[in-house]
Every structure is written in structure tokens, then in C-alpha cells.
């Protein structure tokens, strides 16, 4: 198991390097000139332009810039400084990562804790009024992008009903709207996924076998259906992390939260390349890490994967215990 985890962590390195290269390339070739934005169009001399470009390192070739960036990142963990403010990107991110990470994880938690049980109920009471209501509501929610959800929440709970604060993160009440908005469509999608998975599992032959044993219906669902159903559902959480993260970028902007999202947004508008590259790199690292955690959790839920990593010594021990039990009894 340890070997597997180490292998997976090592695999993150090439993935992240690829991401850095791709994002760097995209920002490099995107139209818009950061020097022009800093100096202001129209009132600068060619000398001033050349000086500023040299200062920012933008006068060098694409390959030169890319290698310097990656070299600094790998050797010094340096993400560069913002073009506009000259503040190191890493300093700024250190403050903002916890905010965004907390928001996204809470979003995921809400998505799973609402979507999973409701999806199960929906499947177990298939074709009931409850099921029809849940599936239709979830379809509407699933079709709603994060920004629509955020604006609707803002409008209904913040402006019309005035029950929840709409900006900042001062108390727990401030978290409600952003978290729900970030989880938003995820809840709908996850509910429907859970429902489909559960329906598939309860139609399996081994569920019939469990019933044929004379098992109580509640245990049939808990012991036989639930765990089989959870295996694929845990796996897809990894995929949802990226969705919720990108959703929280928009949500942060709408609810005016000083997280990575607002930072990235500012960077994009000001063509502040180090901010864009650095933030995307950090988000990607977080997504990779969460995915790794999900994969490890998967091994613990699916005994087949776990068995694969059981050492022969441990296996022999279990067998020995079994034989002892048998010997004692007879």
C-alpha cells in the first residue's frame, strides 16, 4: 500500500510539469500585452517600454522564459512576482489557499452529504412521488451553472429575504451561500448518479442471493447493496473536485471573497502572467492531492483493491488464525 501511495505521489510530478508548461504556453500566446497595461496605452516611450519589458523578463524568447519559470519553481518553489504589484505570488497565495480550499471542501462535503442520501432514497423508492420530485428538482439544479446558482442565491436570500450576508467570510453564516452555490449543480448530478448506481446494484444477482438466504431487507441494503454502490461513487468525487474548484472561482468573485478565485480573476484581467500561472499550478496541485486521497480511500472501501496490497505475511497470519479457530471449535 505504501509503495502504491509513493508511486502515485511520484506520478504527480510529470502531471504538474505538463500543466505548468501548458498554462504558461497559453498565457504566453494569449493576445494582450502586460507591459502596455502597466504603462497605459499611448503615453510611453519605446525606451520605457523596452526597460519595463526587460524588468519583467518579457523581452526574452518563449523557451527562455519557460525554462527560467520552471527552474525557479522546481529549485526554489518560487512562483515569481506579480507584474503589477511586485508582491511575490506565493506570499499572496499562502493567505488565499486556505480560504478557497475550505470553501471547496465544504462544497464537496455538502454535495456528498445531500446528494448521496437523497439519491439512495430516490432509488429505494423508485417511481414514488418522492422519487419523481427529487429527480426533477435535481435535473433543474444540475443544469444550472455555478454563476447562475450564485446570483440566484444572492438575490433570493441576500437581497429579497435579507436572511443571509452576501459578502466576506466573517461568521459561519457567511459560508452558507457561497458553499451552497459552489456545491450547486454538483448536488443535482451526484444525486442522479447515486440513484442510477443504486438502482443498478439492487438489481444484481447477488442481492437476490442475499434475499434467498433469508436475510432481512435492511441488512440486504446496508451490507450488500450500499458498499457495492459506494465504490463507484467515491471514485467520482475525485472528478467533482475540479468542478467545484472552478465553480468556487466564480462564486468567490460574486460573493467578494478574498480567495484564489478573486486573485486569479484579477490576474486574468490585468494579464498578470505570474498570478495566472501560479494560481493554476496551485489549484492543479490541490486537485491532484484530493484525487490521490480519493484513490487511497477507494482502496479502503473496495476490499478487492486492498487484498491486492495485503502482504503475503499478513495473509498467512489471517489464514493461520482461521485454522486455529477451527481447531479450537472441533
Amino acid at each position: 500500500m505504501t509503495k502504491y501511495i509513493i508511486k502515485r505521489i511520484l506520478w504527480m510530478i510529470p502531471v504538474l510539469l505538463c500543466v505548468v508548461t501548458i498554462v504558461f504556453t497559453i498565457t504566453y500566446f494569449t493576445p494582450g500585452d502586460p507591459v502596455l497595461i502597466i504603462l497605459g496605452a499611448g503615453n510611453y516611450t519605446p525606451e520605457a517600454y523596452a526597460k519595463k519589458a526587460a524588468e519583467l523578463g518579457l523581452d526574452r524568447s518563449y523557451i527562455g522564459q519557460l525554462t527560467t519559470y520552471i527552474w525557479n519553481l522546481v529549485t526554489k518553489l518560487d512562483l515569481g512576482r506579480s507584474f503589477l504589484t511586485n508582491i511575490p505570488v506565493s506570499n499572496e497565495l499562502m493567505v488565499r489557499i486556505p480560504v478557497s480550499f475550505r470553501l471547496s471542501l465544504m462544497g464537496i462535503a455538502v454535495m456528498v452529504s445531500v446528494g448521496l442520501p437523497l439519491g439512495m432514497i430516490s432509488a429505494l423508492k423508485q417511481y414514488s412521488i418522492l422519487d419523481t420530485t427529487l429527480t426533477s428538482i435535481s435535473l433543474i439544479i444540475a443544469a444550472m451553472p455555478a454563476f447562475v446558482m450564485a446570483i440566484l442565491n444572492l438575490l433570493i436570500f441576500g437581497v429579497i429575504l435579507r436572511v443571509l450576508p452576501t459578502t466576506g467570510l466573517d461568521s459561519w453564516r457567511n459560508y452558507i451561500l457561497p458553499v451552497v452555490s459552489a456545491a450547486g449543480s454538483g448536488i443535482g448530478v451526484y444525486l442522479r448518479m447515486t440513484r442510477t448506481t443504486m438502482l443498478e446494484v439492487i438489481r444484481q444477482d447477488y442481492i437476490r442471493t442475499a434475499r434467498a438466504k433469508g436475510q432481512i431487507e435492511r441488512v440486504v441494503i446496508q451490507r450488500h447493496a450500499l458498499r457495492n454502490c459506494l465504490i463507484p461513487l467515491v471514485t467520482v468525487i475525485g472528478a467533482f473536485v475540479a468542478t467545484v474548484f472552478s465553480g468556487s472561482i466564480i462564486v468567490e468573485t460574486i460573493f467578494n471573497i478574498t480567495g484564489m478565485g478573486t486573485y486569479l480573476m484579477g490576474g486574468l484581467l490585468g494579464r498578470d502572467y505570474p498570478i495566472i500561472n501560479g494560481t493554476v499550478f496551485v489549484i492543479c496541485t490541490l486537485v491532484c492531492t484530493v484525487n490521490l486521497c480519493v484513490d487511497i480511500a477507494y482502496a479502503f472501501i473496495d476490499p478487492r483493491v486492498k487484498a491486492q496490497f495485503t502482504s503475503p505475511r499478513k495473509r498467512a497470519k489471517i489464514v493461520k488464525e482461521l485454522i486455529e479457530v477451527k481447531g479450537e471449535a472441533s
Binding site: Y206, A212, G214, A307, R315, L322
Partner: protein, 322 residues
């Protein structure tokens, strides 16, 4: 007294578009420690009958509409959920057709067998585990393998596990639904032999569902031929194999290639089984029958006893015309 007696069992699958008449007024009985072979084509309603006895017909869409299933004199269709649960796995157990999917993929096989023992055996977890290890030994699997998961076993081994599970509580009746269909021929023989051996040891009655007349000849005491949800012919092994009377049974035997005759083509029964959503009136076999009479298309059918213990459901046999 017979152990299991089914009278007029009717099971339909009702969907929005149509009603599929899977089992129509079926009568059957199995005596103690006897084996009854239930033979028929795919879609004849064999599995539905078996699931009906276990009260496991999936509802929706399946509905048991009428009849009686008397097990030791008690009507299973009138039993409460609790009562039927105590019978399932304990007095009546079932071996399913496909061992590949019948076992829970994420539970150790030892635990899966122990589960049924713990449910009905009135014993502790350890005791159930010990008995499950013994059961594995009985079906020829090393007890050490009980910590393995179903995917670590071959198909034949999995079916052994399923058999161990079914026989763990020494049931009075074992329903085997095509237990060897999913296995290759060499394994088939082993599994059948194992089932027979264990059945004789425990004096278990068995309802063997199959479409393989060879298996029937080897293992059964009585045979029931099923067609479109009805029993068309019923009798002892000798009566059916030596003196088949119903045209469908005759057709079934006729479609088996013979070793001593040199033929170019097999001789199947012509036509297809009628759509169970739209069964014909009169005799359900008349469209494929070689001995058809106009009365066959409309006439009311009755099952007649042509010789002691030998029943046939055919108008022309009843009149002595065939």
C-alpha cells in the same frame, strides 16, 4: 404427503405496454428426497416458477396472481414476510444459474457462507465461521481460501461456493436453476456429481431446472415438461423417457441427434415459442404441432392421467387419438 405442492400457480409480469403471462395455472409436486426435473425451452417460465416458490419474483413488474404453493402443508403465498424469510435459505434454498454474478464481489466467500448459517443456525459468529469452513471442505475447496473474494475463483469453484451456501443449513428442498448452464462440460459433470452426493447425504428433495435432457436422465426421479407457462407432460423418468406422449415432448426427444443414425441436419421443433405477452387460445403448442386438429385451436384443455402418475395436457392424447 408430498413436500412441495404447487396448485394453479399464475405469475404475470405487468408492464405499461403489455402483460407477460410467464406462468399459467401450473401444477407440480415433489415428494420427499426425490428429484424433479423441470424441463423447457428458454422463456417457458421455469425460473419464474422457482422464484415464485422462493417468493422472490421481482415486484414490480412481477405479480403472483393466484394459486397455492404448499410446503409441508403450509401455503407459502399466504406466509408473512417474516415467515418466508425463515424458510428461505433454511428449509428451501436455491442455486442460481450464473455463479459469476450470484456472489457479492466485495465480501469474502467464507463470510458469505457464514451469513446464511448465522441467520438460521442459532449460533455465534465464530461457530458460523467454523461451519462455513467445513462447508467449503465438503464442496472441495481448501478452507484457507475462505478469505478470498469471488473474483479470485474460477466459474466452477464459484458454483461450488454457491452450492455450499445453499446446502449450509441442510435444506429440505433445493431449487437448482440451471446450475450447470454457465459452466463448461467437464466442470458440469463434477458439479452435478457433487450436488447429487450432498443431496443423498442430507435426504434433500430437489427441483432441478434445466433444458438438458441428458442431465435429467442422470439425476431425476420425475420429470415435468414445461411449455409457455404450463406443465404439458408430467411423469416418472421412465414414463417420460420411454413413453413420451405429448407432441412437444416427442419433439424435444426428436431434436436430440442420435449416434447410430447418420443425418445431415438436426431435427428441431419447427417454429418459435409463442409470445408470452400474446398467448394463443386453446392449446398453446398448436401452432407448432404436427398432430393439429381444429379443436386444438379453441378447445378447453385438461390434464389427463393416461397411466398412474403420468399426466398429459393434450386434447388428442386425451381422446386416445395419438
Amino acid at each position: 404427503m408430498s413436500l412441495l405442492e404447487i396448485k394453479g400457480l399464475t405469475i404475470h409480469y405487468e408492464t405499461r405496454e403489455s402483460v407477460i403471462s410467464a406462468v399459467n395455472g401450473l401444477d407440480l409436486s415433489i415428494d420427499e428426497s426425490k428429484t424433479l426435473g423441470l424441463v423447457g425451452e428458454t422463456g417457458a417460465g421455469k425460473t419464474t416458477t422457482a422464484l415464485g416458490v422462493m417468493r422472490l419474483v421481482p415486484d414490480p413488474p412481477g405479480k403472483i396472481l393466484g394459486g397455492e404453493i404448499l410446503f409441508e402443508g403450509k401455503d407459502l403465498l399466504k406466509a408473512t414476510d417474516n415467515e418466508i424469510r425463515k424458510i428461505r435459505g433454511n428449509d428451501i434454498s436455491m442455486i442460481f444459474q450464473d455463479p459469476m454474478t450470484a456472489l457479492n464481489p466485495i465480501i469474502r466467500i467464507g463470510d458469505q457462507i457464514a451469513e446464511v448459517i448465522q441467520l438460521h443456525g442459532n449460533c455465534s459468529k465464530t461457530e458460523a465461521m467454523v461451519r462455513s469452513l467445513k462447508m467449503l471442505e465438503t464442496v472441495g475447496i481448501q478452507p484457507e481460501r475462505s478469505i478470498e473474494y469471488p473474483h479470485q475463483f474460477s466459474g466452477g469453484m464459484k458454483q461450488r461456493v454457491v452450492i455450499a451456501m445453499a446446502l449450509a443449513c441442510s435444506p429440505k428442498l433445493l431449487i437448482a436453476d440451471e446450475p450447470t448452464t454457465a459452466l463448461d462440460v467437464t466442470i458440469q459433470a463434477q458439479v452435478l456429481e457433487l450436488m447429487n452426493e450432498l443431496k443423498q447425504q442430507n435426504k434433500t428433495s430437489m427441483l432441478l431446472i434445466t433444458h438438458d435432457l441428458g442431465i435429467v436422465a442422470e439425476t431425476c426421479d420425475e420429470v415435468a415438461i414445461m411449455y409457455a407457462g404450463e406443465i404439458v407432460e408430467y411423469g416418472s423418468l421412465a414414463q417420460i423417457f420411454r413413453n413420451a406422449l405429448h407432441p412437444y415432448t416427442i419433439g424435444l426427444f426428436g431434436s436430440i441427434p442420435s449416434l447410430d443414425k447418420d443425418v445431415d441436419r438436426l431435427n428441431p421443433i419447427q417454429g418459435l415459442m409463442p409470445d408470452p405477452a400474446d398467448l394463443p387460445e386453446g392449446c398453446k403448442f398448436h401452432e407448432r404441432c404436427n398432430f393439429i386438429d381444429e379443436k386444438c385451436e379453441t378447445g378447453e384443455l385438461e390434464t389427463v392421467e393416461v397411466e398412474p402418475g403420468h399426466f398429459v395436457r393434450c386434447l388428442r392424447v386425451a381422446k386416445g387419438e395419438i
